[in-house]
């Protein structure tokens, strides 16, 4: 395989990481909503933790995006 083609294939494979992060972020918000509907009184107090979990899950997806960008533009 040519190097240029391999780079593009690799960048495309990195998009799997973005999809995985989508599952992670959906999981974070989904679990939060599920338990927030069970106990709405406690929901507001946990909003900070919700966004910490969101940020942690999202960062890994963004890393996949960075890998794709590096493969296309830098490597």
């Amino acid at each position: 395989m040519e190097v240029e083609a391999a780079k593009l294939v690799g960048a495309g494979l990195a998009a799997i990481g973005a999809g995985m992060a989508a599952i992670g972020v959906g999981n974070v918000f989904g679990s939060f909503l599920e338990s927030a509907l069970r106990n709405p009184g406690a929901a507001d107090g946990q909003q900070g933790r919700l966004f910490i979990g969101f940020a942690a899950a999202e960062l890994l997806g963004l890393l996949a995006f960075v890998v794709a960008m590096i493969l296309i533009f830098v490597a």
Binding site: G48, F51, I52, A55, E58, L62, F65, V66
Partner: protein, 262 residues
Amino acid sequence: MAAAPAKVDPMYQFTIAPIGGTEGWEIAGYNIAFTNSALWMAVTTVLLTIFVAGGMRRQLVPGRWQMAVETFTGFIDDMLEANIGKEGRKYVPYVFSLFMFILFANLLGLLPLGVVGIHPFTFTSHFTVTGVLAVMSFSIVLIVGFWKHGLKFFSLFVPHGTPLPMIPIIFPIELISFAVRPFSLALRLFVAMMAGHVLLKVLSSFVIDGTNAGAGFGLLVGLPSFALMIGISALEILVAGIQAYVFALLTSLYINDAEHLH
């Protein structure tokens, strides 16, 4: 014309261009020309100053403007109170400035001013800018940590109740996870902003190229892409707010580590 390559370059929007040439802007061999990035930082600062100054009336019954500003300060105040406690009050000015600066920058970059010929530049989509912001937060953590606790600050890397044989393994892991914090903090904001703007430009290239290829393609590709662009723009406004909030939230969490160790 349909065979010509796509004319919309999604990365062109991130080009840093000096305004008014680069002549005579050299200091010690480094060029410090006034760029569009610097221009939009200045615009953000001016707008933020106007926004906050307009709300500093200290009236007993606040008007709308004062109410808007006090909502933001109260929001940051509550966040620091919840995450750090009473000692968090003294970080309100820094975290408030950080949050509002990033929020204004993100939102300004999304303004559709290109319609009238002014092209907003999202400087938070550059790693240098977010990197400096993250290093500022991180140095506050380090300074406060070593100032308050001295060398006991290193006990941050050994959680309570770690068995003795585990310490040589846990310590480097905690140290690394601590040391990559400024990097991940900066990376998150920079990539989130850049990815959103690239996505919008890619969709706009679908609209432009699709419509240029003929009415059929315009209806089939252009219109759905345009509808998607509107939706993504709304999502980007949400992301602009969330990323500013996450940056401020993580900064306050890291400061909490420095204030209280574990």
